[in-house]
């Protein structure tokens, strides 16, 4: 009797887990689809949107994790939104999650471009579309800057002079000096390793 009961309980837990997994996969697909359909203006826009969605709203990832994911997507070849989908999907549901997330993020551009490629001359020369795309940049900029204010606050909160200096230097290099993101990330990776070895040496001396 007891065994039967516990078997029933495990089976129920199993179906519940399967159900919640299905729900996660569906949420993953749906959110990637919507985010991708609204990403005007390049890779970092979608990173800001993903941070708002997966860190603030769904709380699937913590903030540090999202920044790590961003750094990884930047250092891998391929389009940033696709790369980020692969990693976030993998985090939530393994390889299946990656497939679902990538499908969600590539479908909107594929559908939109397939439609537009038929009548693209009219699309290209339509004045109102041009205006809408130009003004939308103001909204996109506001979204990114809102996210960056929150992220920068947290870097300041670490109270590590090295990190704060690195943030300022990286901004100057990226924005004013046009250094590529890849070079900046690799340089900071090297600084990270140097920082690690300094810490290890200190520890050894202390011990």
């Amino acid at each position: 009797m007891k065994e039967e009961q516990s078997a029933a309980v495990t089976a129920e837990a199993g179906t519940r887990a399967a159900k919640s997994r299905r729900e996660i996969l569906w949420t993953l697909f749906k959110s990637m689809f919507v985010l991708s359909a609204c990403t005007f203006g390049g890779g970092f826009v979608i990173v800001s949107l993903m941070k708002k969605k997966y860190v603030d709203q769904l709380q699937w990832l913590d903030e540090d994790e999202m920044l790590d994911v961003t750094a990884i997507t930047q250092s891998c070849p391929g389009p940033l939104p696709v790369n980020a989908s692969v990693i976030i999907g993998y985090r939530m549901c393994g390889i299946l999650g990656s497939f679902v997330a990538v499908l969600g993020s590539i479908l909107p551009p594929m559908i939109i471009i397939s439609i537009i490629s038929v009548f693209y001359t009219q699309f290209r020369s339509n004045r109102y579309i041009a205006i809408a795309l130009q003004v939308m940049r103001a909204g996109v900029a506001a979204v990114i800057i809102d996210v960056v204010i929150n992220l920068a606050k947290n870097v300041l909160k670490t109270r590590r002079i090295l990190y704060i200096l690195m943030m300022c230097a990286a901004f100057i290099c990226a924005y004013l000096l046009d250094v590529s993101a890849m070079v900046i990330i690799l340089t900071c990776l090297a600084i990270g390793f140097a920082d690690l070895s300094v810490n290890l040496v200190k520890k050894r001396k202390g011990a």
Binding site: F44, S48, P81, Y90, P109, V143, M166
Partner: protein, 193 residues
């Protein structure tokens, strides 16, 4: 069939070698599609870039779909897109696997900790570039004060306020700014007439 294979292989290379995303992929796509394979003329390619910039989604996926659709219909679009994301998919999956396996080691945390401020700065730099583009319709070097756009400036201020004070959803803000801004420009046209 031969064309499909050729398309797949061309976009596989685009996916594999476009490190740094977005605009870094344009010369690669041009090289593959216009110069090496001659699948498109330079003029068609310029149109393609204009459209890719005007629509949501990564430029390489947009171009893959565009080239594929024009040459082989829907099947072509699917094959090109698959080719384009195959290499990044495998590489990122591998990176994700190792990241989640080792991320909690203190040494790894130490190194990743140094990467985070830089990532914040990169996102910030992208944000400022788009803001300057919205306000002056040019990059930093080409700023002319006479090109300053008041409507976009007000929109930006209102959007940022709504985001910070009322935590409004980002999608609402982006789509809303498009609609409200377009209406404002139409009104301005009407008044000036």
């Amino acid at each position: 069939m031969k064309l499909l294979l050729q398309l797949f292989f061309s976009f596989f290379q685009v996916g594999l070698f476009s490190v740094g995303g977005g605009y870094a992929a344009i010369p690669l796509i041009q090289d593959q599609i216009v110069n090496v394979t001659g699948l498109m003329t330079l003029e068609e390619f310029t149109d393609l870039i204009t459209i890719a910039e005007m629509t949501p989604g990564p430029i390489s996926i947009n171009s893959a779909t565009f080239v594929g659709t024009r040459l082989c219909g829907v099947l072509g679009a699917v094959i090109c897109t698959l080719g384009c994301i195959l290499a990044p998919f495998i590489i990122c999956l591998t990176m994700a696997h190792f990241y989640y396996k080792y991320r909690n080691f203190s040494g790894v945390q130490n190194v990743l900790g140094a990467l985070r401020p830089a990532t914040v700065a990169l996102i910030g730099s992208a944000g400022v570039s788009i803001l300057v583009l919205a306000l002056f319709q040019s990059d930093l070097a080409g700023i002319q004060l006479s090109n300053f756009r008041g409507i976009e400036f007000v929109l930006f201020g209102v959007c940022l306020f709504l985001l910070r004070k009322y935590k409004m959803s980002a999608i609402t803000i982006i789509l809303g700014s498009g609609v409200v801004g377009t209406v404002l420009y139409l009104l301005k046209d009407l008044i000036l007439l």
